[in-house]
């Protein structure tokens, strides 16, 4: 099992493999919700490994190089059905802990981002978005999501 939403991110890793066959996304959503994850309607999880960076469990909005100072809108993060596609590695769906952690991480992060976009008129600079979701910035939304996901797993373990 690779680590976290991105490699080496979560202190509760490695997550225990509990399945021989992967959960469906629907089953995983039910499991995550049963462990306290609030998943907003605007998220759409899919197993799309070719859109998940190496050493990551999940991703979204892998847009690559953008011009400094350019503005990105909340609507740029949406698919043609108005949802944010979250891409998963299939092996996330082989572990109860990974499901809860990864779905919890992404749901937390995107919920916070939606609030921040809304508070800023639905747009922000690419630098601002990068600073919010980068693993290299302490105390940002991404690191809050990591802490939230780890807490969910600790509760699952009763520790």
């Amino acid at each position: 099992m690779p680590d976290g939403a991105a490699a080496g991110t979560h202190s509760t890793e490695p997550w225990k493999r509990t399945r021989t066959q992967p959960y469906s996304v629907g089953e995983a959503l039910t499991l995550a919700r049963s462990h306290g994850v609030a998943i907003p309607d605007f998220l759409d999880f899919n197993v799309r490994e070719d859109f998940v960076p190496k050493d990551a469990h999940a991703s979204y909005s892998v847009l690559g190089r953008s011009k400094a100072g350019s503005v990105i809108c909340w609507t740029d993060l949406l698919n043609r059905f108005g949802k944010i596609p979250i891409h998963l590695r299939e092996d996330v769906l082989l572990s109860d802990e990974a499901v809860v952690a990864v779905f919890g991480h992404e749901a937390f992060e995107l919920t916070r981002l939606s609030e921040l976009f809304a508070a800023n008129g639905g747009a922000m600079t690419v630098e601002r978005l990068h600073s919010l979701i980068s693993a290299d910035v302490d105390g940002n939304v991404h690191s809050e999501a990591v802490a939230f996901a780890d807490q969910l797993v600790r509760v699952m373990r009763g520790s």
Partner: protein
């Protein structure tokens, strides 16, 4: 990375956003296949990829993507740098744009 048809199918099914699809299409481009890739794309996607190449910096800028490790971000940046240059050079060779300097916006 999948083929053009696969990427466009992912978009149609809502599995990726339009910007993600364009970024993925760009990663398919090489000096050897740029004409083929551009010719294979539906017109609206060809225009979108062209716009991407003309507005994306070949150097610098910001690398966006959730859960990108440093190595993954570097690889993606390099792929996009190459794609920007290849597409701009192809557009120039086709007389579709004039470049005063091919390597930057």
């Amino acid at each position: 990375m999948k083929s053009i048809d696969a990427i466009l199918d992912y978009y149609d099914r809502g599995q990726v956003t339009r910007l993600e699809a364009v970024a993925a299409l760009a990663r398919l481009v090489t000096p050897d296949n740029v004409a083929e890739v551009m010719a294979s794309l539906p017109e609206d996607w060809m225009k979108e990829l062209r716009r991407w190449a003309l507005t994306t910096p070949a150097q610098g800028g910001v690398i966006l993507g959730a859960n990108l490790t440093d190595a993954a971000a570097k690889k993606l940046a390099e792929q996009h740098c190459r794609a920007v240059q290849v597409i701009r050079d192809w557009l120039a060779s086709e007389g579709k744009i004039q470049l005063t300097h091919a390597s930057n916006a």
